[in-house]
Amino acid sequence: MKEGKVILECCGLRKRFGGLMVLNNISFQVPTGKITALIGPNGAGKTTVLNAITGVFPLDEGNILFKGHSLNGLKSFKVVECGIARTFQNVRIFPDMTVLDNVMVGCHAKTRSGFIDALLHLPAMRREETAIRQCSIEVIERLGISEKDTLAGSLSLVGQKKVEIARALASRPELLMLDEPASGLSGDETRQLAEALIEIGQEGITILLIEHDMNLVMGISDHVVVLNYGEKIADGPPESVQKNDRVLAAYLGC
């Protein structure tokens, strides 16, 4: 792991919805191989940053560089192909597909076989299919999901969150972005999640984490970025951010 390199760089992001400035000149960097947390009160623009990175909507201004290449104007699926995977704030799995199928969709970015291969059941496609299946089962087992053939929609919230993370991991990302993975989890479950994230981080996957649970954030992240009302108010290691006056003001409301 090379220290000090930057995998993702956001420069001067601006986004306006109607009259509301959601992102106002946001710049920050995500160091390679580290866990970076993006925090801030509700409505600070955290999810908007994620959406902008993944190409859900275009930015008004600003530039996003991933490993030195601009992501601007790329469609969402292209962003995934570059090596960025994400989860969603309120779990969004494909409820009417099985767990395994959910995770196998995640392999899309790294596989190629298309309509013709599939229609004609060509050998190349069959080989790829076996690989996808194997890779997905591995990811599922690693995250400790036991029911791979049940419908994803019938799982508990924790189970669904795991499926979502597994789906993201299946695309073999270099950068994994998690949108409030701990919300709705119990203390125990959050601890398990923290362990899992650290383990993922150790495998060399950079993590960008949006989270409200300060214990989790401060416990596992190497770097913290704080947003408030669409503006960046602090950026640095967790210890220094915790002491920052503006952060305290934003969180305590004084």
Binding site: V56, K75, V80, F94, D96, V105, K110, I132
Partner: protein, 320 residues
């Protein structure tokens, strides 16, 4: 486990189905029933294509009669007026349909919900009017006659029984390909797209590309059915390709079950044959058709085949 798996493999299911159809075709002596069987086959091809679009990609088309018409009229006009050979024309028609579907698919597949319904409907109506008005080329409302039957070497598919041996392999191939498709990477992508378009896109599925491609595929299947129809009947006229046919195939998809390809086979067969039986109700046949349709949709919304399957499982469980 292995035993169950083999039953679930497309090739095996299709093999069984082929034997069944073959059995029917051999048992039937009367060419009327063969004719009905052939029309069922033609409809199945259109309906399977449409189900890929509706049941897997979650996009509606109320204009599929147009693609059916493009295939039929291209085969008719190019072979009769310009003397093209039949088989290459059929493939040319498929390519042209694919081109047309691609060009209009790009803007149309960006639309959602009612707007998508309207756009496909509008396209169908425009093409229908062109068929009627451009009568120097299409023969206008009186239709276009004199299309020769297809042949391979010295085998001409000119009788109902012979055509049966042409159309059903086509149906089985379509079914095989489609079953392969839905059980592949692409199929999963399509299902993800139907379930949640935005998330699918953020998971790496090229949703826009998939939508257009599956639209093209379903158009191509409709075009294939159209070409086969033209060579079978030997005559095409706009009446076959009206808005009502578009509605009819959508109905077949839904009665059979969205996303259930075998359901589509049943849906197409049932709704093609049903009016023949309803003939005994004479003036009440229209009314009965509407009634049957409503009852099925009210009580078996997941489609007839999946619905019956669930019901069967339920009673089975109760007995245990």
């Amino acid at each position: 486990m292995n035993h169950i798996k083999s039953i679930h493999s497309p090739a095996c299911q299709i093999g069984l189905f082929a034997i069944l159809v073959q059995g029917c075709a051999l048992l039937v002596r009367n060419s009327y029933y063969l004719f009905v069987l052939n029309i069922v086959g033609i409809n199945i091809i259109v309906v399977i294509g449409l189900n890929l679009l509706m049941g897997y990609a979650g996009q509606i088309s109320l204009g599929h009669a147009a693609f059916y018409a493009i295939g039929a009229y291209l085969s008719a006009i190019l072979t009769v007026t310009y003397g093209f050979p039949a088989w290459p024309t059929l493939f040319l028609a498929l390519i042209i349909t694919a081109g047309v579907a691609y060009v209009i698919g790009i803007p149309i597949m960006r639309l959602e919900g009612h707007y998508l319904v309207m756009a496909t409907l509008g396209f169908g109506i425009i093409l229908y009017i062109v068929l009627i008005q451009w009568d120097d080329v299409t023969g206008g409302p009186s239709g276009f006659a004199g299309i020769e039957p297809l042949h391979i070497g010295s085998l001409t598919f000119d009788s109902d029984r012979r055509f049966c041996y042409l159309i059903w392999p086509c149906v089985l191939l379509t079914l095989w390909g489609s079953l392969n498709l839905v059980r592949s990477r692409v199929g999963r992508g399509l299902m993800a797209l139907r379930s949640d378009e935005l998330v699918a896109s953020c998971t790496g599925v090229n949703t826009e590309g998939y939508k257009v491609k599956v639209f093209v595929l379903s158009a191509v299947l409709a075009s294939l059915a159209g070409s086969l129809y033209a060579h079978y009947i030997g005559f095409v006229s706009p009446g076959t390709f009206s808005f009502f046919y578009s509605i009819q195939v959508v109905t077949m998809v839904i009665v059979g079950g969205l996303g259930s390809l075998w359901g589509s086979v049943l849906g197409a067969a049932l709704l093609t044959v049903l009016p023949e039986f309803l003939g005994i109700f004479q003036t009440y046949n229209v009314l009965m058709y509407g009634l049957v349709l409503m009852v099925v949709l009210v009580f078996f919304p997941e489609g007839l085949l999946p619905g019956l399957w669930f019901a069967l499982q339920k009673t089975h469980r109760k007995h245990r």
